[in-house]
């Protein structure tokens, strides 16, 4: 009597569970191919576009236009505020305000370009997250990038203009002390308004300029903080 009952194949048969897992894996892959892959390709194309010059120009242009539009309204309000157009003060305010508008435009463009760069890197990081099966973070829309950039730019410019307005308000207190120095300033040819403005006005012009510039340079040398 032979007890040899072990002569069968040593091959381990696939279990039903293994077959089911394989079926599901193949089905998942198929679903991914049909539904997700085209969307991922679309997203990658979008990120590639964001990395291009056209997108940067679009965002920076939108941000710049929005930034200047806000200040232009302030400009209209100022000119309609009863200021005599023939006065030196009118021209001076006009020059200062136009600087604020232009700085706002420049800051809007710069921040728009920066936001576009950040969006591009964020998109690249998202693609990498998708590629490794992670959840991708939502991206900001073009419009919201421009909105944020222009808001930042307008705030910067308004701050500059507010500094100017404050320096105007502080003038009165300094008049008596500074009159003599003001004459000296005008005599040195520093003011184009010497022929049409009071000595008080001529004096303050120099200090206002240094005030504006000083504010900005002060920012440049200020504490390092994350860009908002």
């Amino acid at each position: 009597m032979s007890g040899g009952g072990g002569g069968g194949s040593s091959e381990i048969r696939e279990t039903e569970a293994e077959k089911a897992l394989a079926e599901v894996a193949a089905a998942k892959f198929d679903t991914y191919q049909k539904h997700y892959k085209p969307l991922e390709a679309q997203y990658r194309d979008r990120v590639d576009d964001i990395g291009g010059d056209n997108y940067q120009n679009l965002v920076s242009g939108m941000a710049a236009n929005q930034a200047t539009a806000g200040l232009r309204q302030e400009s209209k309000d100022m000119y309609q505020g009863g200021l005599n157009p023939n006065s030196g003060q009118f021209h001076k305010k006009s020059a200062v305000l136009n600087n604020a508008i232009e700085k706002s435009r420049q800051a809007g463009m710069a921040q728009g370009q920066q936001a576009a760069q950040n969006a591009y890197l964020s998109g690249m990081a998202n693609i990498n997250a998708i590629g490794t099966g992670q959840e991708a973070a939502a991206m900001s829309s073009t419009r919201s990038l421009a909105d944020v950039s222009s808001r930042n730019a307008v705030m910067d410019a308004r701050s500059d203009f507010a500094d100017y307005q404050n320096s105007q308000a502080n003038k009165g207190a300094l008049v008596g002390v500074a009159a003599a120095a003001g004459k000296g300033y005008m005599a040195g040819g520093g003011s184009p308004y010497a022929d049409q403005a009071s000595s008080q006005y001529g004096l303050m012009q120099g200090s206002e300029q240094s005030n504006m510039i000083g504010t900005q340079m002060g920012f440049a040398g200020g504490p390092i903080k994350p860009y908002q």
Partner: protein, 147 residues
Amino acid sequence: MSEYINIYDHINANVGDDRGAEKTQAAVTRAMWDEYESTYLPYLTDLAQIGSREGQQEMTDDLVGGIKDNYNNYTDRVTGRTERTSQRYGLSQTPRQSAYTERLAELNKAAGLNRDTYKARIDAANRTEALLTGGALSKEGLVDNRG
């Protein structure tokens, strides 16, 4: 590998065939890696290059260069706009007023350029940090995956 892949074309088998489940699982695993390698790995390579010291420097230089270019016409734009404002009221700037406008524009141009490039550089430094260690720009950092 961006077109549709029929996994069964790659294995010449079905799950119900002999060793079919094992072959199918293996084929899916390989196809997924091929997909990652051909489609996503290039983005990781690009991102790693951008995150490198040289890559960040290049990107920052591009941004700062663009900002400087933007400022090229600053003075002309301010002086032109100020002149137009005067003209709207039937006035013309005197030579001294024009000189003042131009001088003020030049000073503001220098200050604005300083401010904007400073911001750009600070932002670039923060961005590099975020890219490498995770943060606002990426769900996971390239280097530090503390999450």
